[in-house]
């Protein structure tokens, strides 16, 4: 079974530029998450989708971050404009929408460096 795919793997931009990340979850997984992992810390949830609807975006900095999941499959996360503090690894994860406590499967992440 194919895992969660993410691209690009690495991205370097200058502050105030925009950037977009792409995620393709495991086939059949209705729930999709975006996490931000700053160096030396654990991942922190940015947004959770159930199919193509947003379940939780309370920790998403909406003045600069946006995310969508069209057709309930692939998802994109965008930052515009980027700040230095956005340097982090952005992880996408997916899970089934069955019983609670379903395992979340993570992609390899996109490492963003903002100069």
């Amino acid at each position: 079974e194919a895992g969660v795919a993410q691209s690009p793997r690495y991205k370097i931009i200058e502050k105030r530029q925009s950037v977009a990340f792409w995620c393709n979850p495991i086939s059949g997984h209705a729930t999709l998450y975006w996490y931000q992992q700053i160096l030396g810390q654990g991942p922190k949830l940015l947004i959770q989708f159930q199919n193509n609807g947003v379940v939780d975006d309370s920790q998403l900095p909406k003045d600069r971050f946006s995310a969508e999941r069209l057709k309930g499959v692939d998802s994109t996360l965008k930052i515009q404009p980027a700040k230095l503090e956005d340097s982090a690894v952005y992880l996408c994860a997916s899970s089934l929408s069955g019983p609670w406590g379903d395992t979340q499967y993570f992609g390899p992440g996109t490492r963003l460096t903002v100069l």
């Binding site: 994860a93 406590g101 979340q104």
Partner: protein, 116 residues
């Protein structure tokens, strides 16, 4: 809100020695508990999880963890480590029950370094 504390940021241990990585959590409601491992430049991989039932949970790669409700702990153990166990380990919680899957709240991680 839930929170997770991993008491050790770094744990060095000699090969074939036992290891325990400590995790404590705080929550006013019932939670599920998870341990994930992250190898360099890779995503997180599930080692084991506790949802209910037996408090001793066995996972992949010879790891196990014990849920202790009174001490709000979920420590990870392995009786004999290998060089290949060198990685970052994350403890996480999510709410149990409710209307669907809830996101994970992670600790800051413990870097396990196995020394030959």
């Amino acid at each position: 809100a839930q929170s997770v504390t991993q008491l050790d940021s770094q744990v060095p241990v000699f090969e074939e020695a036992p290891v325990e990585l400590r995790c404590n959590y705080s929550s006013s409601v019932s939670v599920y508990l998870f341990w994930y491992v992250q190898y360099p430049n890779q995503g997180l991989q599930l080692l084991l999880k506790y949802l209910s039932g037996s408090t001793l949970v066995k996972g992949i790669n010879g790891f196990e963890a014990e849920f202790n409700k009174s001490q709000t702990s979920f420590h990870l153990r392995k009786p004999s480590v290998h060089i290949s166990d060198t990685a970052e380990y994350f403890c996480a919680v999510s709410l149990s029950g409710g209307s669907g899957n809830t996101p994970l709240v992670f600790g800051k991680g413990t870097r396990l370094s196995v020394i030959a």
